[in-house]
């Protein structure tokens, strides 16, 4: 099954390893992540921190790109190279409603399960928590309010969005489309006794009514994933706490104290490894730990990796767990 895939800027730079590992894992599990023809930075969470609608035009344009891919897939115009023909543009105004209905996507995903080369899911896959958050919230916003959609569409002129895609995280695809049972069968390495803390951060879960991803107070999807990989998930109190990554840009101390609380919380519950899906959190947690270590050599460090790196290793797609010497057989 083909999925429109929005990588986002970080995954082309600091988080390249996140992108690489995710693509390998996806391929192994028959998830064909097809990068959008044209995409741009979604602005991370900045667009949603202001009241103006203009900054929302950028993430909405990405959705339009995904929508074109879906439409092209439907009419069979979509080629191997991901080209989007002119024919699609003329068709896009025809049927915006059908596949765009919330909840309708699951069905269309299934019907396309064994389809031909042109079959494209209407689920746009994201990896970075911030990108996921922004796109899903923008989509939610325009679905809630037709007028807002019209106004943003009016900025974008030729790129009008018709609510034709569903925004998902790779975790959604693994949980709902692949299924953790199937994932379990694909695991080739024994990760027993590896205690892993799943750090959700804030962007993956909140605001609940827009994301509807998991219970923000007691999430489970990461732990379920870890269980299916055969490791031992460590639930720690700070797993959905904000790490303060945004303030890292101009401040040092607040995020460092937030990062410290998260790391100590996870270590205190016995985690030896922390997985995340957020490049911002990844950067902040790593950087903060290095800073703390410089001053306090005795500080107990906790390696932080992307969840896809652990998946890659578990599925036997990498020789070792990037940068870690965990000596797991």
């Amino acid at each position: 099954m083909k999925y429109p895939y929005y990588p986002g800027c970080s995954l082309y730079d600091t988080a390249a390893v996140f992108n690489d590992s995710a693509l390998k894992v996806a391929q192994k599990l028959d998830i064909e992540l097809v990068e959008l023809e044209e995409w741009q930075c979604c602005g991370a969470v900045y667009p949603l921190s202001s009241d103006g609608l203009f900054p929302l035009a950028a993430p909405l344009r990405n959705l339009v790109q995904a929508e074109r891919m879906v439409e092209a897939g439907k009419s069979g115009v979509y080629g191997e190279s991901g080209e989007v023909g002119e024919a699609v543009k003329s068709e896009e105004s025809e049927d915006p409603g059908d596949s765009g209905e919330p909840g309708g996507s699951g069905g269309s995903g299934e019907t396309g399960g064994t389809g031909g080369a042109g079959e494209v899911s209407n689920k746009m896959v994201t990896l970075c928590s911030a990108c996921y958050n922004v796109h899903k919230r923008v989509d939610h916003l325009v679905r809630e309010d037709e007028e807002t959609l019209e106004r943003i569409n009016s900025y974008n002129r030729e790129d009008e969005y018709h609510k034709g895609v569903e925004i998902v995280h790779l975790l959604d695809v693994l949980r709902d489309d692949v299924g953790f049972e199937r994932l379990k069968e694909a695991v080739t390495r024994d990760l027993q006794d590896l205690k892993v803390g799943a750090y959700y951060g804030c962007l993956l879960l909140r605001p609940e009514e827009a994301l509807n991803f998991d219970d923000p107070e007691d999430p489970a999807v990461f732990e379920d994933l870890l269980t299916s990989l055969g490791c031992e998930p460590v639930k720690f109190p700070h797993r959905a706490e904000c790490c303060g990554a945004y303030a890292t840009v101009h401040l040092e101390s607040p995020p460092e104290s937030a990062a410290r609380a998260i790391i100590e919380s996870a270590v205190g519950r016995g985690a030896r490894l922390l997985v995340t899906s957020c490049p911002l959190c990844h950067y902040n947690l790593e950087e903060s730990q290095q800073n703390i270590l410089e001053r306090e050599p005795g500080f107990q460090e906790l390696p932080v990796i992307y969840f896809t790196e652990l998946l890659e290793y578990a599925l036997g797609l990498s020789a070792e767990l990037a940068g870690l010497d965990l000596r797991v057989k």
Binding site: E217, D218, H238
Partner: protein, 649 residues
Amino acid sequence: MKRIGVFVCGCGKNIAGTVDIDRVVEDIKQQNDVVHAENYQYLCSEPGQKIIYQAILEHELEGAIISACSPSMHQETFRQLVNTAGMNPYQCEIANIREQCSWVHSDEKLATDKALDIVKSMVAKVRGDKDLEAIKASLTKKALVIGAGISGIQAALEIAESGHEVILLDRNSYIGGHMAQLSETFPTLDCSQCILTPKTAEISRHPKISLMVNSELEELEGYVGNFRAKIRRKATYVDWEKCNGCGDCQEKCPGKVDSEFERGLGQEKVISVPFPQAVPSKPTIKAEHCRYIQEEKCGVCQKICPRNAINFEDQGQLEEIEVGAIVVATGYDLLGQDKLSEYGYGRVPDVIDGLQFERLLSASGPTGGEIRRPSDGKIPEEVVFIQCVGSRDEEKGYPYCSRICCMYTAKHAKLYKHEVESGQAYVFYMDIRAGGKGYEEFIQQSIQEEGTRYFRGRVSRLYREGEKVKVLGVDTLSDEQIEIDADMVVLACAIVPNYGVKELAQKLKIGTDEHGFLNEAHPKLKPVESLTRGIYMAGAAQSPKDIPDTVSQAGFAASKVKSLFSGDELKHSPTVVYVEDDLCTGCGQCVEACVYEAREIDEKKKIARVEEVLCEGCGACVAACPNGATRHHNNEQDQLLSMIDEVLE
């Protein structure tokens, strides 16, 4: 030719500030049939009413138009007034020039023109109005009180005291409601059971009160004065007529279940009386846990019962009763754990709610009145109380204040300190709302004498850390982050309507607000009436309230029932619909249009008829009738057309 008088009210500046009432009077005098017109500052005042009274006599008026506020305010006042002057009350109409004119406009000229149009159209209506007589209906002087908490108990006792029969209904097997679970009550700290039991005892011995516990309303038909209710008595598996309450069955029963009365903190036998002082003091069997009922094993209770009262075949039964009035007193519930995951409620065992803490404080509770935490039975040395859990939280969908939590939390902190002298209580609050007699003083006492530490701020996170419950929060007054290693946390959860109230309200055809609390007919002036005549409400079912307010409201609801029962028959407005038999084809469209179930087809004559007492005169069936057979007294078609003509002229 009808002699019509028009009276225009200034309503202080409410109307006169926008509408030129002098011009209205001058212009309306030019209308045919209007033999008298005048205005006055306040027509509803005594001098104002006198003016109308005298004008009717002096000018021999046959119809009157009062141009004033909405008919829902004073129509009744003026109709009774004209009646005393010898005019048929239904010849008096209200022209609403306040809510529908002066209040919503600012341009004096345009508003005055509109006011004139409104008055003219009412003149046209009065020309066609006929003399009508109120419809009389019979009255069953017996009341049904739904819910036997303190609210229902109070209402039942007061109605019964005035000599009328009362049926007191509760779905639990005991009466007393949540008040029976409380330890001591604020602000005087009387023991809840001590002030409740005299009332429950009185209920059980009162000759005018019949108690139906373990029962729920299944269906309601009829109308004020003549309700017919179907009551489902659920199976108890014990014949309460035979049972003498000896308690042998409870002692010997081998099965145990979590006690609902103890809110899961304690256990009870599968056959049991829920608590020692329960009224009635008769046991019930929890069928889903009974080994005999499930697997036909055991049966100990049946074997040892000296009165042979155990009946495993009990199916419950459906009873039909007739009553004239209903008081709904279904009370409240606390917001459940599914909505409160951020406070660890349901996940962290030492996080409990306010009612659970009441049970820990209660001498007859699961710990015998010693405060011991649920996880390991230790006496907690540090207890954190969190107020406004769910309440005043728009995000959660409960934006309202639950009203009693500030007080009961102060009480909890105080009682905790009395029990655990070395202990420390902390309270996180948003503001303290202590508006009641002796309430603020009570809070101050808790702070000053018991050393309770109050933090104005919210708790950001709460989780289990070893044996402790880590509570992270903020004190916004000192601007400090607060971190407490608590032994136990007590949540003051939002007060929500009791479960099932929505469905009950539908059966009763009364309204609920967006949160599920019962809607009163008017928030200030009709606080216990529902929009359905003859159905009243009391207590927390209407909105969160404490015991003193609940008792007052219950008394008021009871007095409403008593005044309804004071006459021998009921009067109903005659401005209802009627059928021109010759025009009716019996198509039944009126029956479908009627939401009051006042229309039906006469199967013998094959035409539609009207149950006048049920008709509210809404006119929906008149509009639905394809051949004009359904008509409306004093809202006849020619009246309506001439009214429209006047407005459009």
